[in-house]
Amino acid sequence: MASPDSSILPAVVRDHQREILQQWIAEQSSGSNARSDLLSDAELRQQSSEFLQLFREAVQAGNLGNVMGTEWQGVRELLATVSKANAIRGFTPIDTATFVLSLKRPLFQQLTTDAGSDADLLARETWTVTTVLDSLALFTTEVFQRSREEVISRQQQELMELSTPVVKLWDGILAVPLIGTLDSARTQVVMESLLQRIVDTEAGIAIIDIAGVPTVDTLVAQHLIKTVAAARLMGAECIISGIRPQIAQTIVHLGVELVGAVTKATLADAILYALRQSGWSVSRGRS
């Protein structure tokens, strides 16, 4: 029999690893949280078996009071990998935490058998298992959260690039229709992709259309001026179009001058100007 303050958990996990694993897998595939649509049986078996092995090693090392200790590093790393993979695959944080929490029942069952009639021991062991697994489950939700945030910020970045398409209108003429709030991060993306396309297409004229930008304040103006200046350095002339009457009046009162750029009221005006500038003549055909 074990002494009052030494845990039988290490021995239980060591001696019954196989049975615990079987029960745990059964538990996971039968529970209401079973996600066989997202995770194959083989993967589930693999994940559970790896976890239990690392869990066993950590438990043998003896630090049951603190899952942030070095003994638990292997377990934490595996959980972090699982959490991240789950976040990307579309599991909920509950699914991921349930993976850990569902180990409680198999462990309790095995402990009940091994503790025999020692009720004090069983109560103590149950408490130990509960705190350890709860802490590990909390850890998975934390990692899950962080991974989701990474996914979101990457998507934002992609969206930003998508929402600022530089289109080639004609030989040597590019256009960027800007829609939405023009913050510093987005301006950076616009500027970079515009300059890159100027190089790639050897464009001589770039039209920046701001018809879809709700407010043009001094910061937006400054961003535009910088973009125009950079384009000029690359040898391209800029036309800013889509300046609505109310925006024009506001810019004038603010005292902002869009230096270096030709400005046009509409995109159509800008295209016409750009074509003429490049030596094309535009005329309506007779029918």
Binding site: T181, P214, T215, V216, D217, T218, L219, A221, Q222, P245, Q246, I247, Q249, T250, H253, L254, G255, V256
Partner: protein, 118 residues
């Protein structure tokens, strides 16, 4: 920032300001909110609907507990900036509204109140 702009626009639309006046007010709000945030280290924005003898207006009050402005006249000069801006935010927004009031003292913060009448 975005929410201040949106709130001001919503009020201006609600009170049936002209499109030009809506744009001017939202732009002024954008400038003053950014100054509060960048130069004042963050603060508060308040919106008030005014009614004065049949005349309707909107007042915006921006307050911060930042470093304050040493020389207000200089700060209100076109092109003056202690940062990397165009230095047109303060002077420009004064031209976008009807009433402009600035209270500030070094070390104690800055309060800017602007009013636009319909």
């Amino acid at each position: 920032m975005v929410s201040v702009r949106q709130a001001v626009r919503a009020w201006a639309v609600e009170m049936k300001f002209s499109l030009v006046d809506q744009t001017k007010l939202v732009t002024a709000a954008s400038e003053l909110a950014r100054n509060t945030l960048i130069h004042g280290g963050g603060g508060s924005a308040r919106l008030e609907a005014l009614e004065d003898g049949g005349r309707q207006g909107i007042r915006l009050i921006f307050e911060d507990q930042g470093p304050g402005i040493e020389d207000v006249k200089l700060a209100l000069t076109d092109g003056y900036t202690t940062g990397h801006g165009l230095g047109l935010g303060l002077s420009g927004s004064r031209r976008l509204v009807n009433e402009f009031e600035i209270t500030t003292s070094p070390g104690e913060g800055t309060r800017v109140a602007v009013t636009k009448w319909k």
